[in-house]
């Protein structure tokens, strides 16, 4: 029983991290219909920053990590995605892959394939024992950070003018522009927020797996993207729920299954993904509305 409870807590912890990634991807998609595969490389950049500032005070390292991710996201938007605005979503997707490929190889060339280790906040990886239950601090922190970020973002989107502009652009970009929403500012803002979320993800992930390699952010991005589509890309809430679900499932199943029978686990997960998409093409939580228009 206690091992089951532990798997649930680990699941919620990882689910929170994936939910944050899902918001980062979903926010940019909502505004400019871009599926940013290079999002993982923002997470990697933030994680490298933490690794190189391991000796510095945690506050400094984390502040620098946020700065790098936000500036990186803004530069990415300005240099790569602004010229592509209005291109077909397929072209934007492949372009974001090209940028992801480019950045991974820049990291490989600059920092080597052996990886750098992050020391910041390593203490959070220790566990507290409650009876037979062992909970790692990082799971608790991930849940709290995830909840605070999502709540803060919801308030921001619903209570501020910029948030209103963001939501309007996500609903109908052209009409929003006609009504006076400034496109460049809204898009830059969504990238900045997604960069900040990438930094938060990097802080949480490096506690659990401190070794930062050039492909550090790839897996979490691909999995979150799958979760986002399974949940329903159309709305931020359903995308976030999908991201949470896939993170929860990964950690929970990984804890519960013995490793000998888990070699075919990816096949089972992918099979479920296909089944969900066939039965609910608009997403698991999309409330029965199918995706009517082609998005990519």
């Amino acid at each position: 029983m206690s091992s089951f409870l532990q798997a649930v807590i680990d699941g919620i912890g990882l689910g929170a991290v994936y939910a944050v990634v899902a918001v980062g991807i979903g926010l940019v998609f909502g505004v400019m219909r871009l599926v940013n595969l290079a999002y993982g490389e923002l997470i990697t950049a933030a994680a490298y920053t933490l690794a190189f500032l391991s000796g510095a005070p945690s506050v400094v390292a984390i502040a620098a990590c946020f700065a790098v991710a936000i500036v990186g996201a803004l530069v990415m938007e300005r240099v790569a995605f602004r010229p592509l605005r209005g291109a077909s979503p397929a072209t934007m997707l492949v372009a974001s892959f090209a940028i992801s490929f480019l950045l991974q190889n820049v990291y490989l060339l600059s920092f080597g394939s052996r990886g750098s280790t992050v020391g910041t906040l390593g203490g959070l990886n220790t566990a507290i024992a409650i009876g037979t239950l062992r909970i790692r601090w990082i799971s608790v922190v991930a849940i709290i950070v995830g909840a605070v970020l999502l709540a803060g973002l919801t308030l921001f989107l619903n209570r501020t003018t910029v948030g209103l502009h963001l939501r309007a652009s996500a609903a109908d970009f052209r009409t929003a522009r006609l009504l006076g929403v400034r496109a460049d500012r809204v898009i830059a803002f969504s990238f900045a927020i997604s960069g900040a979320l990438a930094a938060a993800v990097a802080v949480l992930l490096t506690v659990q797996s401190p070794l930062v390699t050039p492909d550090f952010g790839v897996q979490v991005t691909i999995f979150a993207l799958i979760g986002v589509v399974v949940g329903g890309l159309d709305r931020l809430a359903t995308a976030t729920a999908g991201g949470f679900l896939i993170g929860f499932a990964t950690a929970f199943v990984g804890d519960e299954l013995p490793s000998s029978s888990s070699v075919y686990l990816p096949s089972v997960v992918y099979g479920l993904v296909i089944a969900v998409l066939l039965l609910r093409p608009g997403g698991l939580f999309a409330g029965g509305r199918g995706l009517s228009a082609e998005r990519v």
């Binding site: 790569a80 592509l84 090209a98 992918y270 296909i274 066939l278």
Partner: protein, 341 residues
Amino acid sequence: MRSRLDPLVTVAAPVLLVLVVALLGANAGAVRKLEFDDALVNTAIVVALYVFIGNSGVLSFGHMSFVAIGAYLSGILTLGAEQKNFVLPAMYPFLRHTHVSTVSSLALAALAGGVFALLTGIALMRLSGLPAGIATFAVLGITANVISYWDKIGPGVTALALVPESGTWTLAIGAVIAIVVAFAYQRSRFGRRLRATREDPQAAEASGIHVHRERLVAFVISGALAGFAGGLLVHELGSITVDQVDLELTFITLAMLVIGGVQSVWGAVLGALLISGLNSFLNDAEQGVHIPFYVNLPDGSRLVALGVVMALVLILRPSGLTGGREVTVGGLRRAAHLWRS
């Protein structure tokens, strides 16, 4: 202005280009030859992708599963009997005891790719947009996972080695076959109907076109070509591992297609050959090369430069180098005119 010679020119241009590359490859040194062979196989794979993605406008991340199945089947069937008993003792007897020639193994690879595409396509072709992309990606995930661990159908994560290698001309003929099939399909009524659904699904459906069926036809032809190209790949390399036909190849070949121009055979062929050529050149440049002046790139910078070029082309020419146009008589005239002036 259209010319009656347009169809001929449209198919001849990419075929000629492939033959020129093959001619250069056949007369090149042993090391250089590998790079030309690689370019020819990439061409076949990208043309296979084009048949579905270019004509339907639906993105597929799953085509490397057909390439993988073609590569493994073709490789295993051409392996010598004693090697197979030694390397793959756990495999199903009918696979272990069958031995066929390279050409028949390529035909079987195409058949296997087509059948697998039919089985997955019946369900998946109902999807479009990003759900279709993710679902096809999931098919690739399953294929790679199963090939890695099921020792009754293949060597698992270890490499399938000692496969008989084919010469440059075999690979070139393979690429030409892929181009001709792609061209025949796009000229057929099936190809025209599918392109109508690409431009406007609602209008196409209203004109009595069955979107699901047209997509399925293209998916099966495309899957068969991908299986065939996988057979070429294993006979080019002489060995194969799962990693070679997984995510990286998926994205590189997709990038080749998009860079060339998604909506034409010419774009597919040009994209595949240019990026392969660039890759080879950068490989040389890491060793030091004279292109009037001496260039010597630091080790590992090849992939960075490749990424920069891919990103630049996509940012500056989002519809690809060819803009999705085929070679036509009118186009050639205009090009000749520009050349003279």
